[in-house]
């Protein structure tokens, strides 16, 4: 049984079909990668899944129950959240308070219970050193980590990661990849949108390719990136061989 099932999803903006008949499954505990050129609909897909956009057709099933008519906070409680590509922390709150908010509301905990859990999460993501700083004052890499900390705070089973590794230096990237693997070991299910092929190939077990709102390929990473359609639409050159 798949944990999350996307069925014939359709999203239009005026005449543009941002998502056209997209269907795929995400298995429990899986790391699924989504790649594709800019404007392919990757972020739109995430926004529709978490309820920020209403789909114009199709269905989204979480544990076989439709969640397509729920609001974002309800979907979060059900078990799906995302980290945003453009980070939007709660600026005047400290790093730790940002995570507290996610814990208190995502898991419905009291403030005191959340304090302990927040420390654990910050420790795990290795941003404990900046926990009392305002979220405006930390580096981009740490802000991205904070975005992930908030997602973990909500306790959601599925985390959709929208370019969480973009703009990082090689060492930070390596750390980020290790965290993703560690999250899988902890039982999280992850859907990763990323342009950095090294990261995608390094962590994902399965890949989906979107182009102009349609799914053009799906399969093991090694298969997908040697697929001629994918090379024409996105990769541009052969980056790996079977």
């Amino acid at each position: 049984m798949s944990l999350l099932a996307i069925r014939n999803l359709l999203k239009t903006f005026g005449a543009l079909r941002a998502l056209n008949d997209v269907t795929f499954d995400v298995g429990e505990g899986e790391i699924l990668g989504i790649i594709g050129p800019n404007g392919a609909g990757k972020t739109t897909l995430f926004n529709v899944i978490v309820g920020l956009y209403r789909p114009d057709g199709g269905d989204i099933l979480f544990r076989d129950k439709s969640v397509k008519n729920l609001l974002p906070h309800q979907i979060c409680r059900v078990g799906i959240t995302k980290t945003s590509q453009v980070v939007h922390p709660f600026l005047t709150l400290s790093v730790k308070e940002n995570v507290l908010v996610a814990l208190m509301f995502g898991r419905n905990l009291t403030k005191r219970e959340s304090e302990i859990k927040a420390d654990e999460i910050l420790e795990f993501l290795n941003i404990n050193d900046v926990k009392d700083m305002p979220s405006t004052a930390i580096s981009l890499a740490k802000r991205r980590r904070l975005e992930l900390a908030r997602a973990l705070g909500t306790g959601a089973e599925i985390i959709l990661m929208d370019e969480n590794l973009a703009g990082l230096n090689p060492r930070e990237l390596e750390e980020g990849m290790e965290i993703i693997r560690e999250l899988k070991r902890k039982g999280k299910t992850l859907v990763v949108v990323e342009h950095i092929m090294r990261a995608i190939m390094g962590v994902c077990e399965r890949l989906i390719v979107l182009s102009y709102g349609e799914k053009i390929a799906e399969g093991l990473p090694i298969e997908v990136c040697s697929d001629d359609t994918v090379i024409t639409a996105y990769l541009g050159e052969k980056i790996c061989s079977v």
């Binding site: 906070h73 709150l93 509301f105 898991r107």
Partner: protein, 307 residues
């Protein structure tokens, strides 16, 4: 606790102030200051914490005034009972209005709430003439019974206003307050973190309306005469906004300081420079907004994160 000791001392001093056998004028000035501290603090709960700048807060002030006046004069309900009912009527209306206006953002929320307050004023003003009845008494206004001395109103204001500031103080640290602040900073992220933003926004708005409605009720009994053009005047809303901005919007004690300083300024400078006072106030406010965007309190606390 040490940090807030000064506020406890202020409160205790205010409790014992009447022992000085004050003249009527000082009582009235003090009541006026307390009223504004309460209004600015109550306004700040919605607008300061969630960032939705409410331009129609005076609507609930007027509703509180009229509800108390009508309940006391037409239904013969005692003052404190009338006060509570007025607060609840205010809340009820706010839940209805908030459900729709709180879906708007920024300046559109401001316009909608401003329109709400003006609409209520017009209804109170024209209802009787339109339907040939005598309920609100139109522009004649309503006269309330005179029954109590200045000390009675002073203590009523003091208890209610202290309650409002304490409410704001608690919200600033509890879960409810975190939801409001998260909404202010990034409403989308707040939703993604599991916050039912719609419900929290309307709750804050309704709470503000409840508190302002109660203050309106006391105001009616205190002044003994109210009319729509007075109690629904948009200038009251503007005062609340300016006071909160001046002291420090979104903080607990900013609106308290802002309301205190500007009420005194109004009383002292306003009396001496009748014609140039508003001009001076405007200049001061401009300077505050430009150089102290966090308000006066920003000077005192020097930001919470400074190390």
């Amino acid at each position: 606790m040490k940090k807030y000791g000064v506020w406890i001392i202020v409160f205790v001093c205010l409790v014992f102030l009447p022992l000085l056998k004050l003249e009527g004028y000082y009582y009235r000035t003090l009541c006026g200051i307390l009223l504004w501290v309460g209004l600015a603090s109550a306004w700040n709960i919605t607008s300061g914490f969630t960032g939705y700048i409410d331009f129609g807060a005076v609507g609930y002030f007027g509703i509180g005034n009229y509800a108390t006046a009508l309940l006391m004069t037409k239904a013969g309900i005692p003052f404190f009972a009338a006060l509570v009912i007025s607060g609840l009527i205010s809340t009820f209306i706010a839940v209805f209005i908030g459900r729709y206006t709180m879906k708007l953002r920024g300046v559109y929320f401001g316009i909608a709430t401003l329109a709400f307050a003006e609409a209520v004023k017009q209804i109170v003003l024209e209802f009787d003439r339109t339907f040939k009845v005598t309920v609100f008494e139109g522009s004649h206004g309503i006269t309330l019974p005179i029954a109590h001395d200045e000390a009675f109103f002073y203590y009523t204001f003091l208890v209610v206003v202290a309650g409002i500031v304490l409410t704001a103080f608690m919200i600033d640290r509890n879960k409810f307050g975190y939801a409001l602040k998260a909404i202010k900073e990034a409403e989308g992220s707040a939703e993604l973190a599991g916050i039912n933003t719609g419900r929290y926004k309307v709750s804050a708005y309704a709470l503000t309306a409840f508190l302002i409605g109660i203050l309106g009720g006391i105001n009616a009994y205190w002044l003994t005469y109210i009319s729509p053009l007075d109690v629904f005047s948009v200038i009251h809303t503007i005062h609340m906004i300016i006071m909160a901005l001046f002291g420090g919007i979104g903080t607990v004690f900013g609106p308290v300081i802002g309301a205190f300083v500007l009420s005194i300024a109004n009383e002292v400078i306003g009396a001496k420079f009748l014609y140039t006072y508003l001009l001076m106030l405007g200049v001061i406010l401009l300077l505050v907004v430009i150089f102290l965007p966090q308000g006066f309190i920003g000077l005192l606390s020097l930001r919470r994160f400074k190390k």
